[in-house]
């Protein structure tokens, strides 16, 4: 029996609690993702969608993290940040998040050798 891996439903993204953080030169918000039928949505896909939504030139300045799927599935909530530039991102973002997006140096990071 062949089970269709793709679901027909599309992914909807909503942002809440939008705030412009001038001190850290970024915009931060809470992301609600609706994905009925799927387990969860990959962060790369979310970044692309956010880039189109907010007309960001460089998707490397977008970071999404701490996603939790709600009970029963179909909806997950997380946080998102959009920096003004990639240099700002490199300055303010914690190292582990930069490493996740390959923007940081994995060899340098870490105290245990």
């Amino acid at each position: 029996v062949n089970i269709m891996a793709e679901s027909k439903a599309s992914i909807t993204i909503r942002t809440r609690k939008f705030m412009t953080n001038r001190l850290l030169s970024r915009k931060q918000f809470v992301i609600d993702v609706l994905h009925p039928g799927k387990a969860n949505v990959s962060k790369a896909e979310l970044k692309d969608k956010l880039a189109t939504m907010y007309e960001v030139k460089d998707p490397n300045s977008i970071f999404v993290f701490k996603f939790r799927t709600h009970f029963g599935g179909g909806k997950s909530t997380g946080f998102g940040l959009i920096y003004d530039s990639v240099e700002n991102a490199k300055k303010y973002e914690p190292k582990y998040r930069l490493i996740r997006t390959k923007a940081g140096d994995a060899a340098k990071a870490g105290k245990k050798k």
Binding site: R16, K17, Q28, V30, H70, F71, G72, G74, T77
Partner: protein
């Protein structure tokens, strides 16, 4: 200034003569206060010398005066707690007028002046002030026992009688329970025009599950406010695993059963023997429900005796989910 210096020098010379002649023997050790005075004096001396060197522009690097300054400072810091402890006594002594001047001289010799306390120290316990237990109670002439009033009594302006208070509480409880029931919730959602929320669930939702979901939502709201996530403790992870286990969705089936039949005229002994009918297979005792559940067998027995309506009997003979919608429609 020269005259003052000359006077000091002559006095010091006289003293050193006396010391050399053994007029001030220190074979028994010196008292605490004397030692403290000596330390302070030495400290002042060293300070003055230090400042002198600095004023003249000489270097102080490696000079022993610096070391001695540090040492004396260290000692002074160390004796500070002793000072604090003796402070009360010393104050008492210094406050006393000149007639007790000799007493000051004598007590100086004691390092830890806890013994040989004289009447000047008033902080000791006074047994004369103790109240006897028997004297106060037996004063009442009428012979009625009146408990001693030592706790503050509140003067309630509007006294609510016990019945009224119980009735108020029952009302609040009923209101709370009604608010939680799904039917009332739907009604309220309709009236307030909220958008309809379609949730998917398997079978009937148990109260445990709805409460858990509400807790999670509350937690999520707070996390979003603060833009951080609180880490899940081991206990919380366990509970989440417990909730996510699929248990055929029949959890909530008999939850409101007891509420529905308790208004029916059933024998009283059924209420007394309430046991949990659903046991967790792996024995997570931490997550067992606190509210006692009616035992199925006992309830069956009692109702069969009373020969109640057939729909109740059919409800108890329920086996699978497909009978459920029919049963509810009949009502």
């Amino acid at each position: 200034m020269k005259a003052g210096l000359d006077a000091v020098t002559s006095k010091v010379e006289v003293l050193t003569e006396k010391v050399k002649a053994d007029h001030f023997p220190t074979a028994d050790g010196i008292s605490y206060l004397e030692a403290k005075h000596l330390l302070l004096l030495n400290y002042c001396q060293s300070l003055v010398y230090y400042l002198l060197r600095k004023a003249k522009g000489l270097s102080i690097k490696g000079h022993p005066v610096v070391r001695s300054l540090v040492e004396i400072r260290l000692f002074l810091e160390k004796i500070r707690p002793i000072d604090k402890k003796l402070q009360y006594q010393i104050q008492k002594f210094t406050r006393v007028d000149t007639t007790a001047a000799e007493k000051i001289g004598s007590s100086d010799k004691e390092v830890d002046a806890t013994q040989n306390m004289d009447d000047l120290l008033k902080l000791r316990p006074n047994p004369d002030m103790l109240e006897s237990k028997t004297s106060a109670a037996s004063e009442d002439a009428t012979g009625v026992y009146r408990p001693p009033k030592f706790a503050p009594a509140s003067m309630a302006e509007d006294k609510i009688s016990r019945e009224e208070r119980n009735a108020l509480r029952k009302e609040k409880q009923a209101l709370r329970q009604a608010r939680q029931s799904t039917y009332v919730r739907e009604l309220m959602n309709d009236l307030q025009g909220r958008p309809e929320e379609v949730k998917e669930f398997v079978g009937t939702e148990s109260r445990e599950l709805t409460e858990y979901k509400e807790k999670l939502e509350d937690r999520a709201r707070r996390e979003e406010d603060l833009f951080t996530r609180a880490p899940l403790t081991k206990l919380e992870k366990k509970k989440m695993k417990h909730m996510k286990k699929s248990r055929n969705g029949l959890q909530g089936l008999t939850e409101s059963f007891f509420d529905e039949i308790k208004t029916l005229p059933v024998e009283d002994d059924v209420g007394g023997q309430i046991t949990g009918f659903e046991n967790d297979v792996d024995g997570d005792r931490k997550f067992k429900r606190r509210k006692p559940k009616l035992s199925f067998a006992l309830a069956q027995e009692a109702l069969r005796k009373k020969k109640l309506m057939p729909w109740v009997e059919s409800a108890m003979n329920l086996d699978a989910t497909n009978q459920l919608p029919a049963f509810f429609c009949q009502r």
